[in-house]
Amino acid sequence: MSSLELMLLAATVIPLGSFLLLALAGARLGKPLAGWVATAAIAASCVLSGLVVVRWQGMDAAARAAARSAPVPWTVLGDVPLEVGVNLDGLTVAVFFMVTFVSTWIHVFSIGYMAGHSDEIDGRSKFHRFFAFLSLFCFSMLGLVIADSLVLTFVFWELVGLCSYLLIGFYFHKPSASAAAIKAFVVNRVGDMGFILGLGMVFWFLGDLSLAGAARRFAEACGDPGSALRQAGPLGLDMATWLGLLLFCGAVGKSAQFPLHVWLPDAMEGPTPVSALIHAATMVAAGVYLVARIFVLLTPQALLVVAGAGCITLTLGALVAVVQTDIKKVLAYSTISQLGYMMLGMGVGAWIGALFHLLTHAFFKALMFLGSGQVIEGCHHEQDIRRMGGLWRRMPVTCATFLIGVLAIAGAGIPGTSVGLGGFFSKDEILAVAYSRVYGDGTHGARPHGSAAPAAGPWAMTETGHRSALTHAVPGVEHAQASAPLPALLFWVPVIVAYITPFYMMRCWWLTFMGRPRDDHVHAHARESALMVVPLVVLAAGTLVCGLVLFRPLVAEVAPAGLLAPTVDGHELHEVHHALMPIVGGAFVVGFAVAIALYARGLSLAAAIARRLRPLHRLLEHKFYFDELYGLVLVGGTHLLKGLCDLFDRIVVDGIVDALSASTVRLARFSGRDLDERVVDGAVNGVGRTTWELGGAAGSLQTGRIRLYILLAAGGVTAMVWLALAAGG
């Protein structure tokens, strides 16, 4: 293994060590120390991955390829060997650094935050348990990032889900928290069900479960017109598409895409740092990360589905976020919406843009969640923004850093220049690609990727190979679709939502920090905690600079070459960006303006509008009734089914057994003919019952009186004697 791989591996394993230490001896370490152990662990990982980033930047393509070593065998599935290794490329390095960096500061924040939040339960401190789970999460997430095979990805994928479950349910004495934890896990499992089946398809058709091998075999199989992958499957889609779609199911669950988005808002029951780390910055982005990794296994139809899901999700999230009053719920729905943007980006082929957005989003969303945590902590667990207001006096740093986050998510920047915050570049890049796919000339599909396309790494496929594979594999309709313009909705809907995003974010910020205090009690006690401010400042700085400077090139260089969907980059980015400027450049200004206008004088104006649009408001307030629908149809259906099964078991199966036995006994008394039939039918308990009854009859002789036994025995002997005499003549 190369030293880079070893460093990443070490950085992954260190949190695991921290987890074991805290799990076994956490209670003894005590309150602040346990937190610092976990923080030190993730900080060490962060330093290591920082070193990896630095070294990676200094290497040329050949050295980078050389740094990647062969995977080691893990086990065998059938006769297919499963191997594990470190998937060392720019994307891994970038995401790894992002995860460790954000995690480190969230850990620091948590020490401050959990000091007051972990002792609520029963007088027993769960402080160490929280950090143990957090360490386990870091391990799982980092493992997921470096995994180089689909199986390994799935393993860490589930572990991440487990940590999410444990952390959402951290306040498990609250029924709502444990219910939310279950919901998260089960909904994710629904997605994972598809993921498993997708892995089954990969195993079946490709016979190789490593990312690189699967991609290679996929290209080969698509190049073969007689391949089984080309056969039509259900719903008129071919098998290759189904393969990609099933794998995508996993991402739908984890990244809270429509229709499996329902778990994420509920997941806010967990402690706020958890919401920041898992349900905003890292874990939910894992779905997008997965799609990026399996991008080469997705056919045009599959990508269309991905884009569609993303488009629906981003709309849904943004609309619901508009009416939310819980500060964390607003952020949760904005996360859903942003994840939708990423998925849309993947679907339309903005591979780089989507990942870029993932990275920038991690920073500013973590920042905002921590800010909300600060607010909640400061306001004594008040989460309703309608009762806040005017907090900027009490929490100036939080207010400022939160604003930076809001600007970033809104895509604020000075149009026409390269001055802007994360979202300004990343979101607009996604929109730009969508634009070019919808209104472009369709030649992007064939355009080579340009200077950034690497020749090395598992993702490198010869452009001709892939393209010819597609043209051969997908003749006729599909080829036409591959280059055909996408539906215009895929561009216009996100653009419209890009106006909504600044609105609800500004609404949230304004209601929280600006205006007059609406609740004196909340306002009076509000204060900032020093330990918790530091991470805010660091993450705000990161939001300001890191996004564009560090990550985009790292990601861009691994983008799969020769994609059917174009990836706008470098020079071209600016071009399209400029072209789009009139459409979305001013979106954040408009959104902010509307929000401020609406809420500058408190809640009354908004309330009036809400009354006017009552049906719509209720629809949004109830999140489009998804929870109710699923609760009724899926949960209710399962409960109904479960009840039926139980009744079936009790009444029918056991009933048949018992009834057979009973009737056997009855008929046995009744008639020998019926007895025959029933015994042939073979009721187990029937035989038993009969035996039992015969035994009972014989048992009446069994008085337990020894004298009677002797008498009977003697009588038997007498009878035998006389019989013998009679027989003997």
Partner: protein
């Protein structure tokens, strides 16, 4: 306790007989009054002892008090010991008396005394049970007697008289019957321990 006196006298006689050996078996056997007397005496003794045994056995059945039963049993055992003498099994006769009268019966008496609270109590079987028992017993007896009577037993009458059997019995026990002999000693040991444990296990 006249029964017991009578029985003890009989027993004393029997013991004497056992020590002396049967008078009619002494000396060379030949035709003559002595033989006749011997045969006659044997018959007399058989009917005497057999009758005693039978009477005692029937007494066992009929008496309702357990102490009396024990004494009747003693009588029956003694009578059987006498019969052993008649059958030239003098060692067995002695053993019968020593083991039964000296051992078993004492144990039984002890048993009766230890449960003295209810020893005197009479538990009577129900008449139906008695009737059924009597019927079965008599039928069985009749059956057995009929079966025995079917065969002419006179053929192999009176095998040659033998020397006192202690010597032969001892040899047989240590040669032919060595294994059962040893097994029975093991059994006795086990019974000793087991009976002690059983009798003691009720006490806590």
């Amino acid at each position: 306790m006249t029964g017991s006196n009578r029985l003890s006298i009989v027993a004393a006689v029997l013991v004497w007989l056992a020590r002396a050996g049967p008078v009619w078996a002494r000396g060379p056997r030949g035709p003559g009054p002595a033989d006749w007397i011997g045969i006659e005496l044997e018959a007399v003794m058989f009917y005497l002892l057999g009758g005693l045994a039978a009477v005692c056995a029937v007494g066992c059945v009929l008496s309702s008090r357990v102490v009396r039963m024990a004494l009747f049993l003693f009588g029956a055992l003694g009578a059987v010991a006498g019969l052993y003498l008649l059958l030239h099994a003098n060692f067995l006769a002695a053993i019968q008396l020593i083991v039964y009268a000296g051992g078993t019966l004492v144990v039984i008496i002890f048993g009766i005394m230890l449960s003295s609270a209810s020893a005197a109590a009479r538990y009577r079987a129900r008449p139906a049970e008695k009737a059924a028992g009597a019927a079965v017993g008599l039928l069985l007896l009749a059956g057995l007697v009929t079966a025995v009577g079917r065969i002419d037993w006179s053929e192999g009458i009176a095998a040659a008289p033998s020397a006192p059997t202690v010597d032969g019995l001892g040899r047989a026990l240590l040669t032919t019957y060595l294994v059962p002999f040893e097994l029975s000693s093991v059994l006795l040991l086990a019974v000793m321990i087991g009976a002690a444990w059983l009798a003691g296990s009720g006490r806590k």
